[in-house]
């Protein structure tokens, strides 16, 4: 009874505070100075058409590196929590085989999903999307595979290798920015190219490809771990 009362009370209090936030909020009428500079000089300075990507990968690149680290830590954490002790018998659970509809659909959909995922992160600097979105699409393809055939085993060696090297590659690109251009994670050490082309915006596509690969393999590994 007391517990219910406290829950209700705290929710009411928060609701009250939130109400005031909503009432006091007035949407801005113009971009603030930092955003304006990003929008105005982003395409020229960094060569990217997608300004959100420019913000993510270069202007606030350290945040994105931290984000990749968070994903990495989550995957490691899930691996730690769900690890199988050496010598413990792996239970052969009776898996209900997926219906034929799913099985056939997988053969058809999987390549499409993979291509879509790769397309999204390769074009991150030109169209909406980017490394994380593309990686998530890749992982959902893997999830489809896992759902369709529960006995699928991912080749752990390749997954681990891909994950580690793409993560390390990201750090290396950052350092290259430090050594060859203005600062850590500066993308201008590669030629900026023609605006709007696939190979433009310096190192941004490279970073996003690395992120896409890393996220895709990471999430797939996590999903596979949870399958058991």
């Amino acid at each position: 009874m007391i517990k219910r009362a406290t829950v209700l009370l705290s929710l009411l209090l928060l609701g009250f505070i939130f109400l005031h936030i909503a009432m006091d909020y007035s949407p801005p009428s113009a971009l603030n100075s930092i955003s304006e500079q990003y929008v105005a000089s982003g395409p020229d300075e960094l060569g990217a058409a997608n300004i959100v990507t420019a913000v993510l990968v270069t202007y606030r690149g350290l945040d994105t590196l931290g984000e990749v680290a968070v994903l990495f830590i989550s995957a490691a954490g899930v691996g730690l929590l769900l690890r199988r002790n050496l010598g413990a018998p792996t239970e052969e659970k009776k898996q209900r085989a997926a219906s034929e509809l799913v099985g056939t659909a997988v053969h058809f959909l999987l390549p499409l999903i993979f291509v879509l995922g790769v397309y999204i992160f390769v074009n991150g600097h030109l169209t909406p999307g980017g490394g994380f979105q593309g990686g998530a699409v890749l992982a959902s393809g893997i999830m489809l595979l896992l759902l369709a055939d529960p006995h699928t085993q991912l080749n752990h060696g390749i997954v681990e290798w891909l994950e580690s090297t793409s993560g390390f590659g990201y750090v290396v690109v950052g350092v290259l920015g430090l050594v060859l251009a203005g600062g850590f994670l500066d993308n201008r050490f590669l030629d900026l190219g023609t605006f709007g082309e696939l190979f433009s915006a310096g190192a941004m596509p490279i970073i996003y490809v690395l992120i896409g690969l890393k996220v895709g393999t990471e999430l797939s590994a996590v999903l596979e771990r949870m399958k058991d």
Partner: protein, 127 residues
């Protein structure tokens, strides 16, 4: 009651709904007995906050900050919404995903040890 879709009210609607979702999520976290439902409540709270963040970035009548046919490069600063909250939201979503994944791993292990997903079986869980 006519709902005029004038630009000034859109961010406030999204903001308010986001905050409502946050409250629903919090209620779920505090009142549910099943661990999975608690985790869902947590995920809802996160989503509500992301809605809030996106709402903060919106400027009336403007479009996405991507320079293509719809947005002219030279006039972009007057045509696009704030790109920063979008970037922040992306990072926040990924981080929320990381926490949720870990919570689910916890749930799996607790289920293996307890045989059930009910919070009542965990006598030490005082909430």
């Amino acid at each position: 009651m006519s709902l005029t879709m004038d630009g000034t009210s859109i961010p406030i609607i999204v903001l308010a709904s986001g905050l409502i979702v946050v409250l629903v999520g919090l209620w779920g976290m505090m009142s549910r007995r099943n661990i999975i439902q608690i985790i869902i409540g947590f995920s809802l709270t996160d989503t509500g906050i992301h809605m809030l963040m996106v709402a903060v970035g919106y400027l009336n009548g403007r479009t996405a900050p991507i320079i293509d046919d719809a947005v002219d490069r030279t006039q972009a600063a007057t045509l696009v919404v704030d790109p920063i909250p979008s970037a922040l939201v992306l990072t926040a979503i990924v981080i929320g995903l990381g926490v949720t994944a870990l919570l689910l791993a916890y749930a799996i292990q607790i289920y293996k040890k307890n045989g059930s997903l009910s919070v009542d079986d965990c006598s030490e869980l005082k909430g």
